[in-house]
């Protein structure tokens, strides 16, 4: 005879267990609950079900947090920026050699709030704007990467799209390439590199670890 598990406990399991695992977990719990109810008593079967529910919830919360879009995006960004920090510290000297000295002098002024030809946004305001775009792009990339687990290319494309939308800000600052625009392009390149690396590493390397 079929005995139904406690409705509240069953609902809690349904609520906390992620969709891919829901069907087999609920089915197995019901099956064991029925066996216990037949072998011992309904009461002991119910308390066993509650015990399983209580043990199940923290496991599933941890699983959801780790596999959720926000944590995936965060891990992608952290890995990306660590890699970028290591690589860029090596390349910084070469990059300074490529840029003309006048541009470098201009870039140094940006930190003091001086952006040539831009009457509205100060240098720090523009940088803050770029940071916001970076975060928006990175989070979007992470979310896309988690939705379509293998589509790192889609994640990177979304991220690049968000970042390149900042280019018009650079164009508005003057018709000729300026130090600020150079800085902006370098920023775009390293940001794309950082998050792309993070997303790819998250997909390939951490998949084996977690």
């Amino acid at each position: 005879m079929k005995v139904a598990p406690p409705p509240l406990a069953r609902w809690l399991v349904w609520l906390f267990v992620p969709r891919p695992l829901r069907e087999p977990v609920l089915g197995d719990l019901s099956e064991s609950h029925n066996v216990l109810a037949a072998r011992e008593s309904r009461q002991s079967a119910d308390s066993w079900y509650w015990g399983q529910t209580v043990r199940c919830i923290p496991v599933m919360v941890r699983w959801r947090v780790w596999h959720g879009p926000a944590s995936r995006a965060l891990v992608a960004i952290v890995i990306g920026w660590v890699t970028y920090g290591l690589v860029f510290s090596v390349l910084a000297g070469s990059l300074s050699a490529i840029l003309p000295a006048s541009y470098l002098a201009e870039i140094r002024h940006i930190g003091k709030g001086v952006v040539p030809g831009d009457p509205i946004l100060g240098g720090l305001g523009v940088l803050a704007f770029l940071c916001m775009l970076f975060v928006a792009g990175a989070v979007a990339g992470g979310i896309f990467a988690s939705i379509a687990r293998q589509s790192n290319a889609v994640a990177i494309a979304v991220f690049c799209g968000c970042l390149f939308s900042s280019i018009p800000v650079g164009w508005m600052t003057g018709s000729a390439p300026t130090g600020f625009e150079w800085l902006q392009l370098v920023w775009l390149a390293v940001s794309i590199f950082a998050v792309s690396t993070g997303v790819i590493q998250r997909g390939r390397w951490l998949a084996d670890v977690v």
Partner: protein, 109 residues
């Protein structure tokens, strides 16, 4: 690839249980097998998160089975050990044996 996968203690236990149970490897049977052999009470939630992770690593494959009224009409999920899983299990057990043999007199893995 399988040689490079590091397995945790519980992952080794689950892979060994699947290897022993064979065709009938689904959550309830695996929990029973582990309890029978080790006395360890395993929660169904922990079992399935581990099975899901091992499947993502390519060590297991799964198929959906039949549903019965005692399961509330929900289908079983059967798991099968793949070649990579067998190889990863062998590597992990070899490593354990190399590290532990001789530590406790009279005990050998």
């Amino acid at each position: 690839m399988a040689g490079k996968i590091n397995l945790g203690e519980f992952e080794i236990v689950v892979l060994a249980a699947i290897s022993r149970v064979g065709e009938d490897s689904y959550g309830v049977r695996l929990c029973e097998e582990i309890k029978r052999r080790t006395g360890r009470e395993v929660s169904v939630g922990a079992m399935y998160t581990t099975l899901y992770r091992l499947e993502k690593k390519g060590l297991l494959s799964s198929r959906t089975g039949t549903s019965t009224p005692t399961r509330g009409g929900r289908a079983k999920r059967y798991f099968r050990l793949e070649g990579e899983g067998r190889s990863a299990l062998r590597t992990s057990l070899n490593t354990l044996a190399k590290m532990t043999n001789g530590i406790i007199p009279g005990m050998q893995l």
